[in-house]
Amino acid sequence: MPKVAMRVNGRAVSGEVEGRTLLVQFLREGLGMTGTHVGCDTSQCGACVVHVNGVPVKSCTAFALDLDGAEITTIEGMANADGSLGRVQQAFQDHHGLQCGFCTPGMVMSAAALLAENPTPSEAEIRTYLEGNICRCTGYHNIVKAVLAASGQDPATIAAE
């Protein structure tokens, strides 16, 4: 079987995979990193979003072998060095931006990607950016608040109209 090597959360990893092995399968089954979730099979839900070389990617829609040599960041890599929640993660807890937790890894990774691109996004920009991440629990209200807070903005500004 072909071999793939990449860096995941700063750690060099490698493993044998099939041609058809998806990145998410390599992470979950190959590396035992189950923080990244699979919620659909049509690339709609975004539960599987990770960062590949700094940009968000749906890990269920990318082959592991296509990412040989890539730098991957997953939800497991978002905490601070001391193990405490990172900035975006902490904002999600502070503002109740999650309920069942299943979409959360992808949501956090997308939010982090947005803030890397646009450090102080407007509410509208946040909502638009998250269009590839479906949450069935929160109605998005508190997710948007969390992202506003993570960007250092006042989450109380979220409002209708």
């Binding site: 072909p2 041609g19 099979d41 975004g46 749906k58 082959f63 997308s110 590839g132 991440n133």
Partner: protein, 261 residues
Amino acid sequence: MYAFDFVRPKTVAEAVKALAAEDAQALGGGQTLIPTLKQRLAAPAVLVSLSGIAEMSGVSLSGGTLTIGGGTPHATVAKEARAAYPALAALAGGIGDPAVRSRGTIGGSLANNDPSACYPAAVLGSGATIVTDRREIAADDYFQGMFATALEPGEIITAVRFPVPEKAHYEKFAQPASRFALVGVFVARTGQGARVAVTGASADGVFRWAEAEKALSGGFSAAALAGLAPPTGDMISDLHGSAEYRAHLVKVLTGRAVAAA
């Protein structure tokens, strides 16, 4: 997914060679192909990834022509074409979602020619040229119906050349689930007249709305379209919208696109 071999050539020449194998299939960003493979609706023996071919990626402007490498992701186009061709950049920035745009490529989109994809509207609406490993194909000759193109088996889109129009705009009305275009209209004012390309609406795939082009060539304004009847033809009718509704949207969106261009 059925099992397949995976190869990732470094050059176009290597890719062309790999694609000559029996049941070989090119892989662009995979944002459509991978879900298809998951459903076991395709069974390639070899998947030839184009993602490692440096010569196929990038955006460059030269003498009024914007050239985009066939392997360039939508996100890159959205960023790097913004100054030279804002309408195209905005279209690329509205495809799918950010994660899809990180992977999906212009060449992959055009090779697939989904009848609801956005890029075909820009290519046809701009009168762009599809550059492949073996020839150049004018947009007007390239699109040959739903999921059908002028590409030969194993032929790779290496670049797309867009003549930058004087004005242009893409107006998309998204299908709420897939976020593809329920209807999308790309309008451009060029030195040779107006072009109007419509995606999402027709069972024949992207098409040029000749009556609108004619009306706009007399004066590029939304008012010029007022008297037009919605386009006829083989409009798609599905749970997201009837044929009549889609035809109506074409007209509405064309007007909005012209106004915004």
